[in-house]
Amino acid sequence: MTMQVIQHIELGSAQSSITFSNIPQTYTDLLLVTSIRDTSGGFQLLLLDINGSSSNRKWRSLFGNGVGGVGSQTETSGNPANTIALVNGAVGGPISVVAYTSAQLYFPNYSGSSFKSFSADSVTENNSTENYNFIEAGLWEQNSAITSLTVKTTNTVAAGSSATLYGILKGSSGGVTVS
């Protein structure tokens, strides 16, 4: 099977992070799909550690907020090196307003022996006029295989947040040729 669920984690209570450990090295690419909220109010940061580290990272982002704000940043712009996106925090309104940031990260060739690229797409939602569509180009400047991924937020990851890790395996079928 080309695409398989490796693990799904959903938080019954607030936690410091969501971690996928001992990632099998039998796939080609990884896809991480998250639904995340921070326990504090306002917009917070969505962060990602690779193999337990927030270091050795380069990234470049592009974002818009729906109220005229648009920008592009890098890992030298003042945010932590392991920044992936913005995430909405807790809101004080009715329970129906509670929403989670959706983020999707793709890691090609995660088990290879070169630096690791990744691509991140995310969108916040809090039923107001200001929300963020945030995309990021990431690079983990290590030759090691990726064996763990840890998702966290600026403060604490709220209950109800979830993450699913998929493995994708390249292959051949249907008689397609490549040259």
Binding site: R60, S72, I135, G174, V176, V178
Partner: protein, 161 residues
């Protein structure tokens, strides 16, 4: 099985282009709906990457719109038809989806994300102005001068539907 690996290549030498041919509309009786192409690696110099379907090299048949950021400024343009993203001399990636590639009653639309952490990133929406089913795709440097580097990978998948 809804996500199907069709073909892949890891370059053992630099290549000016990569072509996927004989793309079917079904596999083992399962109809295929969309294509996904993942490119991960580098180029000999910083390049725009172009895509051509079914040997159609008429660039005006590939209108596009792009949004792009370089870490400090942002822009948007429609100036470079056929382009699906950038590759640089430092590691980056392009991931694109072609919707309804096997349909014969519509133009084909493509959404691409390109990511170069040391240079530029962005998103592209492109249309191939042709109603034929896609049976081949070729990617190369837009200027047709540079090469994809050794170790760069290209993987093609299909989504059933």
């Amino acid at each position: 099985m809804s996500y199907i690996a069709l073909a892949n290549i890891t370059l053992s030498s630099a290549a000016s282009s990569v072509t996927f041919s004989n793309i079917p509309t079904s596999v083992n009786g399962v109809a295929l709906r969309d294509l996904v192409l993942v490119i991960d690696g580098t180029a000999s110099v910083g390049i725009n990457v172009s895509i051509f379907f079914n040997n159609d090299n008429t660039t005006s048949n590939y209108p596009y719109v792009r949004m792009i950021g370089n870490g400090s400024t942002t822009s948007s343009d429609t100036a470079n038809p056929t382009v699906i993203g950038d590759l640089q001399t430092t590691r980056g990636m392009i991931k694109l989806s072609v919707m309804d590639y096997s349909a014969t009653d519509k133009h084909k639309t493509l959404l691409s994300r390109f990511d170069n952490p040391s240079s530029v990133l962005g998103a592209i929406a492109l249309r191939w102005a042709n109603t034929n089913a896609i049976t081949s795709l070729r990617v190369r440097d837009t200027a047709n001068a540079a090469t994809f580097s050794i170790g760069t990978t290209f993987a093609l998948y299909a989504i059933a539907g």
